[in-house]
Structures are given as C-alpha cells and as structure tokens.
C-alpha cells in the first residue's frame, strides 16, 4: 500500500458506481471498510429547504434553511443547517461571521419558550399560560386607557390620544407583522410609538 494515488487518479481509475469493486481490485478491501465506517452520512440528506433572509443587517443576504421534517406537510421541522443562497443577486451564496452562525441564534440556549411573569417586587420569573398573560395585558391596557385617555385638549379640540402607554416595535419582524402591529397600536390612540430606526 505504498503507492501514490491522487484523488484525481483514483477517481479516473475507479469511476463512480464501481468504486467498491475497483478498490477491491487494488487490494483496498480493508481500507474500504475502514473508510466507509468513518464517513458520516451527508448531513443534508432527507432535509427540506426553505428560502429565507438573514436576520441581521439590511444587506439581506439570501439563505437556505435545511430542516428535518416538512412544515408544508404539517410536520414539525427541526433546523439542522443554514447556508448562503448562491442564486441570490446580492450575496451570491456568501455569508459574514454573523450570518454563518445563524443556526446558533435559532437554537440559542436563551430562546424563550413559554410566557413568563415577574410579579412586583419578586426576584424571579414564573411560568404562566398564554391566556393568563394576554388577559392580564388586555385588562391593564383597558384600565390605563380608560383612566388616562385624552379626548380633548385644553382648547376643546378633539385629540383622542393615549400617552401613558407606549409601544416600541421591532426591527427584524416582517412587513406583515409590522402592519398588523401598526393597526392594533394606532387604533388605541397610542402616540408613544417607535421602532429601532434611530439606533
């Protein structure tokens, strides 16, 4: 086994599909088994692909998300890999040091998984149900709005504003989320409405 064999020569000699046989002919049978046992199956086998956009800066690099399970079939999908989309005109498949580690932010240990409540004066969060959390929020909004809504100013002009509650909107949510958020927030008369554009 002291012969030099480049990858190119090897491929030329062996050819796809008959590799095993040819390897055998070269007297590689033991090596073949050793190599085969060490080779991990390609990790994107049996994954589904979804086209998406990097969540960080506004270069908006195209990405492909590979998952086990297919959301389109109503299955649970577990993301196993994210890489640059080489069809994308802007990034042409490349990603930066942040984008290259996107899977890690999706899978971060500090992802939130259930609604939590921190009571006044407490030193810890406790888990609550969605219904409890949302009912509390709606009740607090209603009570504060009813108590502090300004229907007219001192000159008697109708102003219909609510200044004791504020809403800070995101920077990485979709336009569709943003529009739904706009409608809900503005309908209450909130003026302390802002987003991350300034920072």
């Amino acid at each position: 086994m002291n012969m030099e064999l480049s990858r190119r020569t090897f491929l030329k000699t062996s050819g796809a599909g008959i590799a095993g046989t040819t390897l055998g002919a070269f007297g590689f049978s033991e090596a073949e088994a050793a190599v085969a046992s060490a080779v991990k199956p390609f990790h994107l086998v049996n994954t589904t692909e979804a086209r998406n956009t990097c969540t960080y800066c506004s270069v908006a690099c195209g990405i492909i998300i590979y998952s086990k399970g297919d959301l389109r079939k109503g299955e649970k999908a577990d993301i196993v890999h994210i890489e640059g989309d080489s069809d994308h005109p802007t990034n042409r498949g490349t990603l930066c040091p942040k984008g290259s580690a996107l899977r890690d932010i999706v899978k971060s240990q500090t992802r939130l998984t259930q609604p939590m409540l921190r009571k006044a004066g407490s030193n810890a969060f406790e888990a609550v149900s969605w219904d409890v959390a949302l009912d509390k929020i709606a009740r607090a909004m209603k009570d504060d709005r009813d108590a502090n809504f300004v229907a007219t100013n001192s000159d008697g002009v109708t102003v219909n504003r609510w200044l004791t509650t504020g809403f800070l909107a995101a920077s990485a949510t979709t336009n569709e989320t943003a529009f739904a958020t706009y409608k809900v927030v503005r309908s209450t008369g909130i003026l302390a409405f802002d987003n991350q554009a300034r920072v």
Binding site: C57, Q114, T164, N175
Partner: protein
C-alpha cells in the same frame, strides 16, 4: 439607499464616511471589491479609526468624531472654488438658480429667527421669493446674490482646508487628497457613491451630516445615476420596512403624517398638503397625498371610514409635540408619567443612552410587556447582576410579562432591505416550546381589548371596535392577507368619467400600483409606496428571477422594490436635459423620442417630455434641493456644531453649545460634561465588531466564542500616558456612569490635534451585557448622553467625553 447593493459595482469612487461597511455589512461590501477589481474604482475611508474598511482603502483620512459637517462643507467649498461642478446637472436639476426671499440670513452659526429660550427657530424667512405668476423666482445666470448657489458659496467659504484641519484634526494634505479624488467625479462620466451608517446618524446633527454629503453628490451630478447615490447602510433586516410602514410616533405608512392638534379637522390637515408646483409643469407627486391618506383610512377602518366622518379622521390621535420618540417616553417614564410599556423585539435598556436613566424609568412602570425570541437585559432590568446590574428586586414594583416569539426562521413574510427590495421568505423550522408569531400576539391583544370595550364600554371605543379586522381567522391573520392589504385593492367598481359604460377598476381586485389609488373611498391601500407588491399577478415580492439585462445590476425580476419596482431613485437624472444618458456606457434609462425606456423603471411619467418636467418629481420645484427651505429644524444649510460633550469649543461659533435646536430635557443638562472639562478629557465613541450583531449574538455560542469578552480600544500614546497595558483592565467613566473592560492598545487609533489641542480617542464596542452566552460585560450606554438629533432624535452615541485609568477589573459580587 437611493441605489441598490448590486449597483455599487458600477461606481468609480466609493467614499465610506460615517460607516464601516467591511465589518458591519461584509456581504454588501463585496460590491465595493467588485468595483475595485472590475472597474478600477477607488475607495476612500474617512473615520476616527483605521478600521477594516480603511485597511483595504486606496486612501484613508482620520477625522475626529462629530466633525463631519466641517469636512463635508470643506469638500463643497473645494469643489466650488476649483470649479469641480457638473454644471449641466446643477443648473437644471438642483435649486441652485432659485432666489431666496429677503430677510433670510446666516451669521456666526445661526440662521435668522433663532429663539434661544425655546431652542428653536421661527423659520418663516427660510423660503423662496415667489413671483407675480405664483411660481418661485429663478435666475438662470446665477448673478442674483440671493440665489441658492451664491448663498451656498458664501456659506461654505469659511470651511477652508486649514479650518477643516483645525476642527476635524484631519491633516490638511490628507483632506486635500480626498478633495482632489472627490472633485474628479464632477465629470458626467465619473461617479462616486456614498456609503454611510450610524457613524453619521448617531449625532445631535446626524440629519445634517447626511444632507452635507447629499449636497456634495448633487454638485457632482451623482444622484440618480448608476454607481452613485446616497446609500444608507441600514442596520437591521427590516428597519427600512418598519420605517416605511410608519411605526413611529408621528407617521402613517408611506411617509404620511399623524395630524397635530393644530389640525382639528381633515380640511385643515389637507390645507397644508396641497403641494402646488413651485415651477411650471412640475409633477409634484405629493399632490396625490389625499388619495394615499383616504385609501390608508379605508384599510384601517373599512366601512367605518366614510366621506361623512372625514374618513375617520378623529380616529387618529393628534400630536401636541413633534413626536413621542423613545427619548421623550423614557424621560416621561423617569418622571412617573408612563404606566405601561411594550417592547417588541427591542432591548432599550441597551439600545438607548444613559442606562441609569433608562433603568430608573422602567422601575416606575406598572407593567412592562416583552415580546422577543430571546432573553434581553430589558426583560431582566429588575434582576441583580452585581456590578453589571446592581439593583434591589424587592424595591422594583414593575410587573413584567415576557412573551416568547418566533424568529425569522420560523415565520413567513417580507422584509425590506437597505436598497428598498421587498423580499419574501418562507419558514424553515417549528417554533420552540410555546413561542408564537408576533402577528398572533397582536391579534390576540386586539381581540381581547375589543371584547372588553364591547362588554364594558369605556373611553372612545370607536377606533378599536371599528378597526378593520376582516381576516379569515381573526385570531391569526396570514402574511398573505396582510401583504395584499398593504398593496391595496378596489372596494367598489369605478367607471370612466368620460365613458360611463367603461369599467376602470373592478371591485375585489388587487391594485396594480399606487397610480390607481383614489380619494373617494373606492380603493383601500395600507401603504401606498408598497403598492404593486401583491397584484392580480400574485406575490411580486417572491419573484426569484435573477437575470440582469445589460449587466446593469438592476435585477428587475428579483423580488419587488418600492416605489413601483424602481431600483434607482431619481433615475431621470441619469440623463441630460434632453434625455440622453450622461454616460452611454452606464445607461440606466433614456428618452427614445416618445417615451422613457431602459434597464430600470423610469422615475418620471413614461411620456413626460425631457425639457418640460424636472427629474425630482416628489418636490414641487421639480429639482433637488441644495438649500432645503424650512424643512429641517436646524437650518437650510448644514453648520458645524460640536457634540454636546466636546474637547473644544466650536471654532466657528464659540458661543454655541452643541446643536442649538437639539432638544435637551431639563434634568439632563447637568449630566453633560462641560466643554473641555479636564475631568473628562478623552473623546469617546461607540461602535460594532464584525463578529457581533448589536446585543443579539451574545446569545449565540459561535459568536460568543469569536469575541467573548468586552474591551475598549485606545492608542499606544494614550496607553503610555496612562500606564495602561495591552490586555490590562481599565475603568472608563463619563459623567453618567462607568464600565470596566480589557484594554486593546492599538495603532488603529491615533491622537489628533484639534484647534491646537491633542485629543485622544477611546473606542467602546457595544456588544456586551448581563445575559447571554458571552462573558458578562457592561452595557456601553452607561456612558452615553441623553440627547438626540435635532430633527429625528437619533441619540448622540458617537461622540461623548470620558476618562480612563488602569484598573484591577470589576469587583464581582
């Protein structure tokens, strides 16, 4: 961005000033590399640090943070005095020839109408002279001493190369080299592109920094052309979209305005929004404002918005101040005037200035609601983290509700990139645990609130109970439903007024573009500038044809770009007055004798004759503006103002502190270090590292390994002065707070000489906090001052004063 990322390849000269694209936007910066490699383009970097953009630049010039306007006005002065002006562009396409009315003047850093007590101007004199024909007076010969060009020449005369060196610390020779390279782009066949980011916006005069470069680009004829433009490199994946959709105190989607209380009814509101052309034949496209507004109200309130109730005008809140921006609301919070606060994917305890003040505000809330995919410092502001967040939880009565949301990989919809492309994306994974989409959460809040108002009544329930919410599943509208709503649709059949048998618009159909919007309630449209994104032909944002005819870099069949799928704004200006491209090798559009055609969607009516209609169709002038009338609070021309904390007094106006009209809350003056205060002798600045994204990636293992630990960056000279060693601990403090970090002693930062004084710079990367996978660190905003830009309140994060000393590191509790 006026242009697109892919268009940067078309440039001859890139100037990166107020940003650091190689580190902050690496995959966009590749187009600079393309331009350098394929066109022989040059790169200039002007920055306080010799950063990684500078390391591949053809020329680097240092500048002291907060002095950019002096540099930019210096460049304009150089171009004017050396005749580096593209006259064939400047005369017809800018307001250089417009005559300004008597009464307007500028002297010693102030324009006419200043009121020191109000920190505001009466801007009435900042207007054109209007002739007997009702149009603005122009002087094509540029002889009138009151025409914009002559006023500009006079305004910038003080910014000589010597003055630039004195204010900016940029050696005169370096400035002149930049001026020479920039001046070459005044020919019709050479273009420069400006790439900037937070390095320009995060100042108390951030808007005027950007105006300064925009004026220079107009003088060089570089707006509307391939390889040119003003390119804001935006920082978050959809911050462009959220701005477009008006999620701000004073905005309605598509850059319309929330009314003020001086506009009690719709007629008064519209009376200042006529946008009558200021020159004959001009488009003045904002004349359609009423159509955009009424269609928006139909989208918001459906059948409840009627002609009789002025389309629900009173459903909108009316402002009593310019805006309730984040700085104002946190000031109100600290003063006990806010009870409830929502943070949706936002970590204000780190993202706004003066952490101490922010935390004091949060502690006065009754309830704080967090919606986020990740843990944030804001959600845990009440938690004791020793020296990193020293608080006593028992003393904080704020109730905090933390709601888990999906992230990008788990939801569907569109994002607007920096170049205004609306790109659709699809989910790839299931949300963790009980996480829900923000749309579901907002819908659930709305439905519960509506139910409470229906059951109990209460304060003005009308806009809540009448909100148009006709989604198939009201509990969770789909991305498609919302996108179609933003695009707009026909509510009732519309017939041709000339031939009533002809149906022009059919009820129930999607609009093909904003040209179809109407002001009579027959159309609805959530965001006029997005119209065309989801038409009868389907979802235009999901298009993935990456062909690029003419190798122009436009990619018209990839996604959808607002407005009207146009890739370069003002592209009519890529041709001369007769409609011939300035540079035939870089044709964008052209006049073929009957219409405009080319590689981009023309930014002008398709059959508008070249000499009749000016290229800047949104402006009543039909031209761009070198002088901006009364549209900015701090002046129609940019003026150099020092940061609120500065090592030196303002050389050109020694009596003026900071930007004279920037808003400062009464309690905050005492938190600013005095000018030249010996207790805070070093010029601090904040910035980002290529391995981290704001305060997110510290939650991410890989990035936390790449840059695990907080540091500050100082010059070898300062390190020697202070006895600080590379890798040693230092304490950095401002008048507002302190942090401990390791010192990186570097050649990348050099001391500068400013007005005869040596100024050292302390660089403070921002990425650390007390939650996440990285080592705990201090939030950089413990140091920064609570003051924003005079026009849009972006905080002054880039220029503040600090002190520094060697230390043994933080005491861990």
């Amino acid at each position: 961005m006026t242009n697109a990322w892919t268009d940067i390849k078309n440039t001859d000269l890139v100037i990166i000033m107020g940003g650091n694209a190689a580190e902050a936007h690496p995959c966009g910066f590749k187009w600079v590399t393309e331009a350098k490699a394929n066109r022989g383009a040059k790169l200039i970097v002007v920055d306080p640090r010799y950063n990684r953009s500078a390391s591949v630049a053809d020329f680097y010039a240092p500048i002291r943070q907060g002095s950019d306007i002096a540099f930019l006005m210096g460049l304009i002065n150089h171009c004017i005095s050396h005749d580096k002006v593209q006259w064939e562009y400047v005369k017809p396409f800018t307001n250089a020839t417009f005559v300004v009315r008597e009464g307007y003047a500028y002297q010693d850093g102030l324009f006419t109408g200043y009121d020191e007590e109000k920190r505001d101007y009466n801007r009435d004199s900042w207007e054109y002279e209007i002739g007997p024909d009702g149009y603005a007076v122009v002087d094509e010969t540029l002889q009138n001493p009151r025409c914009v060009w002559n006023l500009l020449k006079e305004h910038v005369a003080i910014y000589t190369p010597e003055m630039v060196e004195r204010i900016c610390g940029t050696p005169k020779e370096a400035f002149l080299k930049v001026a020479e390279m920039v001046g070459e782009c005044s020919t019709p066949t050479k273009t420069m592109t400006s790439m900037y980011a937070l390095g320009w916006t995060q100042h108390s005069k951030g808007s005027q920094n950007i105006r300064g470069m925009a004026m220079l680009q107009l003088i060089l004829g570089n707006i509307g052309v391939r390889g040119g433009g003003m390119n804001a490199l935006r920082g978050h994946s959809n911050i462009q979209g959220l701005t477009d959709l008006g999620l701000m105190s004073n905005l309605i989607p598509g850059y319309l305005n929330i009314p003020t209380q001086k506009e009690p009814d719709f007629t008064t509101y519209m009376s200042t929004r006529a946008f009558k052309p200021l020159r004959p034949n001009q488009t003045s496209y904002w004349q359609n404002y009423r159509k955009f507004f009424v269609s928006f109200m139909k989208s918001m309130y459906g059948p409840a918005a009627t002609a009789e109730n002025d389309w629900g005008y009173n459903y909108l809140p009316k402002l009593d101040v310019a805006s309730y921006d984040v700085l104002r609301i946190f000031d109100m919070m600290k003063n006990g005037k806010v009870n409830l606060y929502f943070c949706q994917g936002f970590n204000p305890l780190q993202a706004f200035p003066d952490k101490g003040k922010l935390a004091a505000g949060l502690a006065k809330l009754k309830m704080l609601v967090i919606m986020d995919p990740l843990q944030t410092e804001t959600a845990r502001f009440w938690e004791d983290h020793g020296t990193f967040n020293k608080v006593s939880p028992a003393d904080i009565q704020t109730e905090v509700i933390q709601l888990p949301t999906t992230c990008f990989a788990e939801d569907e919809g569109s994002l607007v990139n920096s170049g205004r492309w609306l790109q659709w994306h699809w989910p790839g994974g299931s949300p963790p645990g009980e996480a829900k989409t923000d749309i579901w959460i907002m819908a659930q809040i709305h439905l519960r609130l509506k139910e409470l108002y229906q059951k109990e009544g209460g304060a003005f329930p009308d806009p809540i109970v009448n909100l148009n919410w006709t989604y198939k599943d009201p509990g969770e509208p789909t991305a498609e439903e919302l996108a179609r709503e933003m695009n707009g649709s026909v509510l009732a059949d519309v017939y041709d007024p000339v031939d009533p048998t002809k149906k022009v618009l059919e009820a129930g159909k999607q609009l093909s573009g904003f040209g179809q919007l109407r002001d009579d309630g027959t159309t609805a449209g959530g965001c006029w500038i997005f119209s065309g994104c989801w038409t009868e032909a389907g979802n235009m944002m999901a298009r993935r044809d990456n062909s690029d005819p003419g190798d122009a870099g436009m990619f018209l069949k990839w996604s959808f770009s607002w407005p009207a799928n146009r890739r370069i704004l003002y592209n009519r200006a890529s041709c001369d007055v007769d409609g011939k491209p300035w540079d035939p090798s870089r044709k964008l559009i052209e006049w073929d004798g009957a219409k405009w055609t080319g590689y981009d969607v023309p930014d002008i009516a398709p059959t508008a004759k070249p000499r009749d209609v000016g290229p800047f169709i949104m402006n009543p002038e039909g031209t761009s503006r070198l002088w901006v009338r009364k549209m900015m609070r701090d002046g129609p021309f940019p003026v150099h103002y020092e940061p609120f904390e500065s090592p030196v007094a303002n050389v050109i106006a020694p009596k003026i502190r900071g930007n004279p009209v920037a808003r400062v809350f009464p309690d905050d003056w005492k938190t600013f270090a005095d000018i030249g205060d010996p207790a805070f002798p070093y010029a601090g600045t904040s910035y980002r590292l290529t391995e981290h994204f704001h305060y997110w990636t510290k939650n991410n293992h890989v990035n936390s390994v790449l840059q695990p630990e907080q540091f500050v960056e100082i010059s070898e000279e300062l390190a020697k002065d202070k006895g600080i060693e590379l890798g040693g601990w230092v304490r950095v403090w401002s008048k507002r707070g302190e942090l401990y970090a390791k010192a990186v002693v570097t050649k990348r930062i050099k001391p500068m000489t400013v007005d005869g004084k040596i100024v050292h710079i302390v660089g403070v990367p921002i990425h650390w906090g007390f939650v996440g996978a990285a080592r705990k660190g201090f939030t950089a905003n413990t140091l920064t001052p609570f003051v924003g830009d005079a026009n849009i309140e972006t905080p002054e994060f880039k220029a503040f004063m600090v002190n520094i000393e060697p230390s043994t590191g933080p005491v861990v509790a």
